[in-house]
Symmetry: C2
Subunit: 596 residues, 2 copies
């Protein structure tokens, strides 16, 4: 039967050995994040995920959420208890601002914990996850008064949060948004409209729900330049900051969906609900995008986290399931058959997953570290570079990690044969849950457009040029060195293809914007592949150094062998992406819309 084990050894490998996060312990707040502390936090967190959240994962899927006649939402059995334990354990506060009650640990610790929460129970993890995002938006754009009122309660999880963007007729294109805000004359606004697909929009687990809602103030300019952000609590805070009068907003329905059944995806109806402006009038999108960018990294993380779960399930299955014999003679001669892990084609599926998960973990934690550096490093130059990387990598992490993560989960299901299609073995739920990650927080296609249409060109192409220079420096430093050589060569070649694609994009994309659109998804995938080539080269370098020191920890040999699989089986995708990019827009645009 399936089980989940917190991958603590790999977290330690990435944080301590690959990223050597201790080099930054001069940064404010980081000095407390010693390896011992991080270890203790993640170990404790891993146990919580294994023992409390994971056992509720299937329950959540099977029971789902129910809308009751009074408009309240029932969550699956055990979720409310787990939520209480989760908040009491302080898990909502790990990387929160200490000024408002957070523990101030680096983001990368929060991210490592976030991975385990998602791996063990994604639908549950979205409740505190959305709260974290909403709190960050308030932190970035709220007044001091708003921050003092909301943040302490959100950081402890006593109150939860949501983000309200989508309406039935507008998702990607927020310019068409219709929800309106009318000044009440007392500094508050009356918010009226319908929002859909609001994750964690209504549930009984927190004492209040803080909705962040995009709306248009009466008389505002049309399009995206007339959108403001409001904080609209379910219960209006009284003079003591405690939940008071019920606000005029309701959950109007729950979405029936393919997966994440344990999370309440709500239609939210605002009927003159009282709300307060966050940030400036008509500039709500700017703040919402702070939240969205964090959320996009979180979704990329989900893609990786579910692939970890699927990997564990399928390795366990492949070790236990006896069926057939190895092509090169019995490996389990005393048993009725060999475990299916002896078969090259089964190993292909397992190694594909392993190469993905470990590459993705390195990439997300590296990116999370950039986030920390951007916020907190004392040197402006470091902050700027980290900020550039965050901007550049966000669409790649969101899209590449969810697309490849979903494929990875599907490989894991395939390892199970017929069992994979049955509810009993759990992995079909993982696949259904994973499918949303390619869609929400901006579809993967939108991420690709963000990359080619905005991120490439920003600041005179400084971010991508800085990134290329970093890769070139790594290649120059490490060339011709024995077992590392194929990794360096693989990275150099893949980067050269990405650079070629970048030049093509700059030239042909300006000639005809449809060329950029036609190339966007392939370009993003080539970029993601290059990031993985870099991570695997760095992981190989660290591992080889440990092996040369004589370490007998099996992780280093495992990294080398998995990395070699990555070189042999993943890098051949680069030419395919490049060829598709260079084919241009014509093959995509030639067919008339009516002829489809």
């Amino acid at each position: 039967m399936p089980s989940y084990r917190a991958p603590l050894r790999d977290h330690r490998f990435v944080l301590n050995e690959l990223l050597n996060v201790q080099q930054y312990n001069n940064i404010e707040g980081f000095s407390e994040a010693t390896p011992d502390i991080i270890d203790a936090v993640l170990e404790e967190g891993g146990k919580f995920c294994e023992n409390v959240l994971y056992p509720l994962n299937k329950v959540g899927d099977r029971q789902g959420c129910k809308l009751k006649s009074d408009g309240e939402v029932e969550v699956p059995e055990g979720f409310a208890d787990a939520y209480t334990q989760f908040t009491e354990g302080g898990w909502t506060a790990i990387s929160g601002d200490p000024k408002y009650g957070g523990q101030g640990l680096p983001e990368y610790v929060g991210l490592a914990m976030g991975e385990m929460i998602t791996s063990s129970n994604m639908a549950f993890g979205m409740y505190p996850g959305l709260t974290g995002g909403a709190a960050r938006a308030l932190h970035a754009g709220g007044t001091d008064e708003q921050k003092e009122l909301y943040l302490p309660k959100m950081i402890t999880g006593e109150w939860s949060g949501t983000m309200n963007l989508t309406e039935p007729h507008c998702g990607t294109d927020l310019g068409m948004l219709r929800t309106k805000a009318v000044p009440n004359g007392d500094g508050s606004y009356a918010i009226t409209g319908q929002k859909i697909w609001i994750s964690a929009g209504e549930h009984p687990m927190s004492k209040n729900i803080v909705h962040l809602v995009l709306a248009r103030i009466e008389g505002a300019p049309e399009g995206v330049k007339g959108i403001s952000l409001f904080v609209v609590p379910k219960f209006l805070p009284d003079e003591n900051g405690e939940p008071g009068e019920r606000n005029d907003l309701q959950c109007g329905g729950l979405e029936e969906k393919m997966g994440i059944h344990g999370n309440a995806t709500c239609v939210m109806n605002y009927d003159g609900a009282k709300g307060w402006l966050v940030g400036e009038e008509h500039k709500g999108l700017k703040i919402m995008f702070i939240m969205m960018n964090e959320a996009r990294l979180g979704v990329g993380l989900q893609g990786m986290a579910l692939a970890e779960t699927a990997y564990q399930y399928s390795v366990d299955f492949a070790r236990d399931r006896l069926q057939g014999r190895s092509l090169t003679g019995p490996k389990n001669p005393d048993g009725p058959a060999d475990p299916i892990i002896v078969h090259p084609d089964v190993r292909r599926m397992l190694l594909d997953q392993k190469a993905f998960v470990e590459g993705a973990r390195a990439l997300t934690l590296w990116t999370a570290l950039q986030g920390d550096l951007e916020q907190k490093h004392p040197e402006e130059e470091v902050r700027e570079k980290a900020g550039d990387y965050m901007a550049l990598l966000t669409p790649i992490i969101k899209s590449y990690l969810t697309e490849k993560g979903y494929e990875s989960v599907s490989q894991g299901l395939q390892v199970h044969g017929g069992s994979g299609f049955t509810a009993e073995w759990g992995i079909e739920q993982t696949l259904r849950d994973a499918r949303i990650t390619l869609i929400y927080e901006g579809t993967n296609g939108i991420q690709a457009l963000d990359l080619v249409g905005r991120k490439l060109a920003m600041k005179g192409m400084r971010p991508i040029n800085t990134f290329f220079a970093e890769l070139d420096a790594f290649v120059a430093e490490n060339q011709g060195s024995g077992d590392l050589e194929p990794f360096v060569k693989g990275l150099a070649e893949t980067k050269a293809k990405l650079q070629k694609a970048t030049s093509w994009l700059v030239e042909k994309g300006l000639e005809n914007f449809d060329n950029a659109g036609a190339a966007s998804s392939e370009y993003l995938n080539l970029f993601g592949l290059t990031c993985f080539a870099y991570m695997w080269a760095k992981m190989a370098k660290v591992s080889l150094a440990k092996l040369e020191e004589g370490s007998s920890d099996p992780i280093y040999e495992s990294k080398m062998k998995t990395g070699r699989y990555f070189l042999a089986r993943w890098l051949p995708q680069a030419d395919m992406h490049l060829a598709r990019i260079e084919a241009g827009a014509e093959p995509l645009m030639a067919l008339e819309a009516e002829a489809f």
Copy 2:
């Protein structure tokens, strides 16, 4: 809201224009299959699928099947009525042997109808689908008495059928099968054992259910050489051949699964049930594989059929959904936004689906025609070649069409954005239903092993050499001819890569069987891609000829443009497959099982 329309124009294109099936009207039974007759059958069938089966598709998914306390199974509302209409309409009998009441139409007509049945309601279609497979096995291996008793009732659908292979501890490795058969002394056997994942194993829609069961006769040799096939009816036929006494077999449970909820996937318990040997003792697998091979083509067809449904859903959605503006200026200036079909990245997803579905339809109908020729052509040479092709292409159709079909459905879902994840829009069901096709009737990995381990080498490599010669001849005949040229060149280059991979396999696979195993899935995909390149080149040739004749039917321009998309975007996969194949087994086998 989603809808399904029978793709009759494309069926006509493939049957009449591409395959020119009329050239075979001298074959027994084919003379009746004039274009008019085929048209009338498919048009009527298409209406049935659109109007009767499709409306029950979502009902079937939502309600699923229920096991009642008396061991009977309840099917979704409307299924029983639809089954009656289906049998009364003669849809079970299209390509059945006229000797037993079938209409004797060519298999390719049955296949075209089968596509529409699956597109509109896969879970329903499996009930008659399994009956067809079981009838074919009895037709191939049964005594005259058995055929006379069972076939007429199965061909009319009055009785349905199943195939019983899998047991809890054995699926792929049938050698471990434990279900036993003990002679009763009267020519019948007592069958005892448990079978799992029996599609359509129990339901109230037919008057009897004819189970074909693999079992081991007491004292039989171990392994696959001791397996026999039995016919085990739910109700024992009385002296008039009508359902009599209830046999000792029960549905012991229904599987909860990811999709195809409308089909009853049963645990079947045989408790000394009365059965009769089909074919010779210990040679049951041979007959079962006749059935399995047909079933594998059927599963490949399912992969294509669901991709057709998803394609239709996503084209409709992309035409209707207004969101954002074209990168090259508004295309719907009077509306609030442009339909999303204007975006290159949306077109990429639609064209990927279109290129797949049309290529797959051509390939399956071409293969079905080979099946007809193998069975019925008067010349031995034609029969032999067709038989070679059937053997060679079966694993490719099963595996390539389901893998790419599933990816295609997932593209279709992605076009829907958030709507795609909700039950309301239907496509999430299509994706869940499609996932099983990569697994059942032998997982796709098993198909790949069948291809490289058996089909390549058979008859001194005659099938693949014949196939290569056919491609070479096409290339030689059509070289250097204007608009056809890129198609011919694409085919020639892809075929050259497949040939290179084949040589590698023959050499390195014999050196080390793990090399063959490691290459198998990539080799199968490269083979599938080559088949598609051939089909698209042939479709382009036919279309160009019609355009030169001055035809204004838009289908020919559409074929050319879709074909060019295929060349630009699909063929670049060939090098990737070849590089992975040539990487050999080492990267897959190096890691110790414990290190995963």
